[in-house]
């Protein structure tokens, strides 16, 4: 067994501190977020953690109006796939942007969303 370069737990600890982290393959240079065991491009096991700028643009989005029970109080809320500056994409909750202003191509910035022991990926306005 090899010690993982960055566990899910470590990812969210860094996220809680405001730092979005990816991993870069030491063999072929592939960038991945969230971390995986093997490089999907070359199957090497040689990741290095890479801090990301945390800025990107909305690639696609939806406004959830019928929510699962745990999120019913939040509805309606926007979820987006955000393409980060470095080229990788990640799903996040959109916060502090009016729902009618959420659009494909809109620049956004990473923002950790927290509730007790659970941190999740959010994105807010760039400015």
């Amino acid at each position: 067994m090899t010690e993982p370069v960055i566990t899910t737990r470590a990812f969210f600890e860094r996220a809680r501190a405001g730092q979005l982290t990816a991993v870069r393959c030491g063999s072929c240079g592939e960038l991945a977020i969230p971390p995986k065991e093997l490089c999907p491009a070359c199957h090497a096991r040689a990741w290095q953690p890479v801090p990301l700028v945390g800025e990107g643009t909305i690639a696609s989005f939806t406004v959830i109006r019928v929510a699962p029970r745990a999120h019913a109080a939040d509805a309606p809320y926007a979820i987006a796939v955000v393409k980060l500056q470095e080229g990788v994409s990640i799903l996040g909750r959109i916060v502090d942007i009016p729902l009618d202003k959420v659009a494909v191509g809109l620049p956004v910035r990473f923002r950790p969303l927290g509730s007790q022991d659970q941190t999740s990926v959010g994105f807010g306005p760039l400015g």
Partner: protein, 384 residues
Amino acid sequence: MRRVAVIGVGVTKFGLHDRTSAELFADAAGDALTDAGIPASAVQALYYGNVVGGETEHQLHTGPQAASVLGIPSVPTTRFETACASSHAAFRHAVMEIGAGVSDVILVGGAERVLNVSTAESTEYFAYASDAVWEQPLGLTFPGVFALIARAHMEKYGTTEAQMAAVAVKNHRHGALNPKAQFQKQITIDQVLRSAYVADPLKLFDCCPFSDGGAAVVLASEEVARRHRKPVWVLASAAASDWMLLGDKRDLARVPATERAAAAAYRQAGLGPTDVDVVELHDCFTIAEIVATEGLGLVEPGAGGRAAETGLTSLGGEVPVNPSGGLKAKGHPIGATGAAQIAEIVTQLRGEAGPRQVDGARTGLTHTLGGNTATVLVSLFGRD
């Protein structure tokens, strides 16, 4: 590999039932065995699809449970769980087992019961098929997954909400001809467009319903099948997977697992998309039918919306898609869906589909998608 045939099919009506999923499966399986004209004692294995039994019925171990309720407790049985593609995955396994000469007769089926819980609960349980660490905590739902795909498709190809609505209207028109369908009434484009948003840009009438129901098919080796009426041959059965996370999918407007499973199935059968006469595909949402017609090669990428609008995919059109009414109108008891699609194609290829019959259909295709597009099964069927 030996040739494999479907020799019997059975499907319950889809919709609200006051029966357990095992009872619904057993009902369909009894019909499938009668249709095949073989005794239950001939069945050598049961492969079974059931997805949220643990959540809605507090029932795991649903393979042997279903076999027991049917009354064939001693056959080897396994539950397959690939979200909405579960019984199609079970089917592929059975095809390989008979093809390899291990068994001669296998029962495949599935069932689901979800209408005994609230919509908020079932919405949550279905969301369990997306990632529990990276996606569920954001409040992602299944309409949400396909809404992200729809938005990407609209951006890339100019697909419109009216084109998506045309898929719903077509499938309801087909469903009105199917006595087993959950919705047997026609709807208009206006009704779809005026329905409330569930996850923008998808509205209530872009979504398939929650459904209870069961389906079963009997598979047999060529030697056994030759002794029975109208065998429908399995020409191919292929599976493919893709990244779980939406963020890992490079192009949300495409479904690579559909493209890979279709390519493998066409290769196995030595056929191409233009050889297919009738299709049952996974229209859990209207956009899902659009991307599936493209991924299966029935239309060019980006042309799926127009195909629904112009009638290309309607009964009487060039490639009729979802003559059963599809998941949209027939209903979507998720564990049963793959087997129910296969049952429809077998019925079509036998020429027994009544008012929804595709005239002269000789080659059929079924496509079932699991969850967030991470699982796809494609099978091809033909008749003598």
